[in-house]
């Protein structure tokens, strides 16, 4: 891979991006204010436990109002069943083993589709980001394909593959691919050319330049792409499973609609929400671990 786009041409006047870790970074490790002064004062008044629980107050309130209105009959079960009814629907399905099967099926599809899309996106992103010929050859075509909403391919996928596994995995992969590809290219291009020049003058080979400087330098941008694409992946799976499936969480919702089981429909929605939350939590954990050198990703309290 030629490294022209990575490295400034000989003698070009430097036009580097601002150094993300400048002189002032000593301050970034100090505890950051959590908001405007008034809220901060309130936040400081709360005991640590209260501060940990505060974000959950609103969801809890919604849950209580929901349960009470459903119980008093103000909320018809055919519109929105009580939370307790949703829980029961879940435990009933779990007792027969269906729930676990649905969840596992959906998780497997996400994992396979995401792995396929992310791997392709990362590889192509690195190739295009680092090599001018590859950029010339590939970038335009990929940018053109990007303008097609990947969900527009659902009918075509069904026509090709029926309701098998392939259309779902491929759709998820397609939805995952572009955010990761674009962020990888951007991340690689954004690596400080001064650091690459330093690496070269300290005798690093091309492979070492990529591994020790380009990849870690692009990592914050790549991880942002991964987080975003996980959201897209779940959204894609919901649609793919709702339109054509005989298994998975989307199938559960679809089947429940035909039976007018609103409790199961809500259960499916809650499951999707939980899955999305979990995926987000996981990427945050990864970010905190991989980017622990970055002042912005360190825990503010220290």
């Amino acid at each position: 891979m030629p490294e022209q786009p990575l490295l400034a041409k000989d003698g070009e006047p430097p036009s580097w991006p601002a150094d993300a870790t400048g002189q002032e970074t000593g301050r970034a490790t100090a505890p950051r204010p959590a908001g405007p002064p008034a809220t901060r004062r309130i936040a400081r008044l709360l005991p640590p436990l209260g501060r940990a629980l505060a974000p959950w107050a609103v969801p809890l309130l919604v849950l209580v109002v929901w349960q009470v209105t459903a119980q008093t009959g103000a909320l018809s079960p055919s519109v929105l069943p009580a939370p307790e009814a949703v829980l029961r629907a879940g435990s009933d399905l779990a007792a027969t083993g269906e729930l676990q099967r649905y969840i596992l099926t959906s998780l497997r599809r996400i994992a396979q589709g995401f792995a396929l899309g992310a791997a392709t996106g990362l590889v192509l992103g690195f190739v295009v980001g680092m090599s001018k010929p590859a950029e010339l050859l590939l970038d335009r075509s990929l940018q053109m394909v990007r303008t097609i909403p990947h969900l527009a391919l659902v009918p075509l996928m069904i026509a090709w593959f029926g309701i098998g596994e392939e259309p779902k995995i491929l759709l998820v992969a397609l939805g995952t691919f572009f955010p990761i590809y674009l962020n990888t290219v951007t991340g690689i291009r954004g690596v400080d050319p001064k650091l690459l020049q330093l690496g070269r003058s300290y005798g690093l080979g091309r492979w070492s330049l990529i591994r020790d400087i380009a990849v870690p330098g692009a990592m914050p941008t790549i991880l942002a792409g991964i987080r975003y694409s996980l959201g897209v992946a779940w959204m894609t799976l919901v649609i793919a499973e709702t339109i054509s499936a005989d298994d998975g969480i989307g199938y559960l919702a679809q089947d429940a609609r035909q039976m007018l089981r609103t409790d199961q429909i809500v259960l499916a929605i809650v499951l999707y929400a939980l899955a999305g939350l979990l995926a987000d939590l996981l990427t945050r954990l990864i970010e905190r671990r991989v980017l622990r050198w970055h002042p912005n990703y360190r825990r503010p309290s220290r």
Partner: protein, 268 residues
């Protein structure tokens, strides 16, 4: 932290480090000639500083010597003490530490496994025990110390310093100057320093070169004893003279032409 330097360190030192020979070196960017017909010989083990107005080609010269840039004309030769090619390491105005590597792993960039040496060097630059810290946790001066340790781990016969203290506050800068001088006295090697600070150049160097019009305008041997240079009347006089020359570009160029005929180093 400030090291006690003996007041009468001999100026002439046994040869160590690389000998640098520049023959008619030129560098142009498009129509702009930055360096032209520059001849220079630097003796092994000497500490040489380059002064000059912005755009005089000081940093370009350093990058050419480092091999980061190719000259448009002329030749650059580095002769080491042994048969193997000369190791030259550069320190930049920005520390250029990799923010995702700990301090110790930054020092180890390009040379895996020499942890003991890296730790010893961190101790030598006054950062003992900070090897596990992230660069973002250090001050500007500390980061430059890490960059210095990183350059020294390669045991370069030629150390190139491109305004390494330019971004530091006055006190930190003096501490860094003393550190560089002490390390150079401990372990002789050829050092080229590009700076805007005339006093810094005069205090640290055996020889000060003022670049003007793309080549060496003034070539000054500093034969004052090390240690007591700051405030020495001759140093103050030199400083005034050089500053005057830098402040009046027109007369400096004329003066440079005159100087060039007289005191240009012979390199043939």
């Amino acid at each position: 932290m400030a090291p006690q330097l003996p007041s009468s360190v001999p100026v002439t030192r046994p040869p160590a480090g690389a000998r640098l020979l520049l023959d008619a070196v030129g560098r142009r960017y498009g129509d702009r000639r930055v360096l032209e017909n520059l001849d220079l010989e630097v003796e092994p083990g000497s500490f040489v500083s380059f002064l000059g107005p912005s755009g005089a080609g000081k940093s370009t010269l350093l990058r050419i010597v480092a091999g980061l840039e190719r000259p448009s004309a002329g030749s650059v030769e580095l002769r080491g003490t042994g048969p193997e090619p000369v190791t030259a390491r550069m320190m930049f105005q920005e520390d250029r530490l990799l923010p995702w590597r700990s301090v110790e792993n930054n020092v180890l960039l390009g040379v895996g496994g020499r942890r003991e040496e890296a730790r010893a060097l961190l101790e030598a630059v006054g950062l003992a025990g900070r090897g596990g810290a992230w660069p973002a946790e250090l001050s500007g001066g500390q980061r430059q110390r890490v960059a210095l340790a990183r350059a020294l781990l390669h045991q370069p016969e030629l150390l190139l310093l491109d305004e390494p203290f330019g971004a530091l506050d006055a006190i930190t800068r003096i501490a860094m100057q003393q550190l560089v001088e002490r390390l150079w006295l401990d372990q002789p090697r050829t050092v080229l320093l590009v700076t805007h600070d005339v006093e810094e150049a005069l205090v640290l160097s055996d020889r000060v070169l003022v670049l003007a019009g793309g080549s060496v305008g003034r070539d000054l041997r500093i034969d004052l004893p090390r240690g007591g240079r700051r405030g020495h009347p001759r140093l103050v006089a030199w400083k005034e003279e050089i500053l005057q020359g830098l402040l009046e570009p027109a007369s400096a160029t004329k003066g440079a032409a005159r100087e060039k005929a007289g005191t240009r180093p012979t390199t043939s």
